[in-house]
């Protein structure tokens, strides 16, 4: 009688259904797919490294040498440490920057 039911925010039951469904949506692999990239150091050719932060901050395309050890490029996740890098002590790209050896 005195209980207000008008203007009431979404009900608890409706929210529980929505959140439950949302967790299912979020768990689907489609959404995860576009995150499947990793930063890979030592594999970018001179001037082809990734990175873009707007005016005054861009470091994309700023690497001076091929396979520069502190310049990175995005690669599909899992492929970085299988990509050959002549300057890398391991012989492959690395997930952290490294000190170049003589190629």
């Amino acid at each position: 009688m005195s209980q207000k039911t008008t203007n009431r925010p979404a009900s608890a039951a409706a929210l529980a259904l929505a959140l439950g469904a949302a967790l299912t949506v979020a768990a689907s692999p489609v959404l995860a797919a576009d995150a499947a990239k990793e930063k890979c150091y030592g594999v970018a050719m001179k001037g082809k490294n990734d990175c873009k932060a707007g005016a005054g901050t861009s470091c994309a395309g700023s690497s001076m040498r091929d396979h520069q050890g502190n310049a990175w490029a995005y690669v599909p996740a899992g492929t970085c440490e299988k990509t050959a890098s002549p300057t890398s002590p391991t012989g492959f790209g690395q997930l952290k920057e490294f000190k170049e050896k003589k190629a």
Partner: protein, 257 residues
């Protein structure tokens, strides 16, 4: 020499060289000042071109230069951080008479600027899945649940197809297939290091804006629905959770190991 006179002469290409300048090597001061004045404007026009690449492609390089040059002289930078230069460039574009024939330019520029803000926004640890599962176990408390959004999130509602126009200029869709006069809303947020632009329904814009304003979940859902557009909370929450755009409670998350 006074700095105000120097600054005024810097912004007005027709102004004479301010008095009191000296050159260290005896070269012609007026000429050196003209070079400096030109570099000042050109570097800022280039900064705007870096920040608004899609706008530049839409209007063409020559028109963009004219537009940006007019802006630089009207609104010189107030901060030494060049990344944020151009916050009101979209408004300037909207009011620029020669650009009025293309009404969607300003909103495309707004989207580009919001992307820059998202890129530089603070990090936040995502809300752990366990916290959501725990919330779901107490459904009676869901309406009063307060969700924290990732600091990079911004929403933009436009009467124009800003998301499609932007995407077409990233090579993601064909520009010929875009009807610029179809209303679109954008969700802009940073996922990892990359800023994502996603088209969302207008109700989702109201929902996210309500959460940003501090509304609890129940209120935000109620504010999202409108007579003309129903709101699908599951889809919107799914998007936010999937992109890790719900943030954990402040101070509870340690750094990653």
């Amino acid at each position: 020499m006074n700095a105000g006179a120097f600054a005024a002469a810097l912004l007005d290409r027709t102004a004479p060289c301010p008095p009191g300048l000296r050159s260290w090597n005896g070269s012609a001061v007026a000429q050196r000042f003209a070079v400096y004045r030109n570099n000042f404007a050109v570097s800022l026009v280039e900064a705007l071109a870096d920040s608004f690449p899609v706008l530049r492609e839409l209007v063409g390089a020559a028109f963009f230069r004219t537009l940006a040059d007019a802006y630089v002289r009207r609104v010189p930078p107030r901060s030494p951080a060049l990344a944020w230069y151009g916050a009101d460039f979209p408004d300037f574009v909207a009011a620029f008479p020669a650009a009025s024939g293309v009404p969607y330019l300003a909103d495309v520029a707004r989207l580009e600027y919001v992307r820059i803000l998202a890129f530089h926004a603070a990090d936040a640890a995502p809300l752990p899945a366990a916290a959501l599962a725990a919330a779901l176990r107490k459904p009676e408390q869901l309406p009063a649940l307060r969700l924290q959004l990732h600091p990079s999130i911004a929403v933009l509602a436009s009467p124009f197809a800003v998301v499609s126009l932007w995407a077409a200029h990233q090579g993601l869709t064909a520009i010929a297939a875009v009807d610029p006069f179809r209303p679109e809303c954008a969700l802009v947020a940073r996922c990892g290091d990359s800023v994502e632009v996603t088209a969302i329904p207008s109700a989702a814009v109201r929902f996210i804006a309500a959460l940003q304003a501090g509304a609890v979940l129940g209120e935000a859902v109620a504010q999202a629905a409108s007579p003309s557009a129903s709101f699908d909370p599951a889809a919107c929450l799914g998007l936010l959770i999937g992109r890790q755009l719900l943030a954990g409670p402040a101070g509870q998350q340690g750094g990653s190991p």
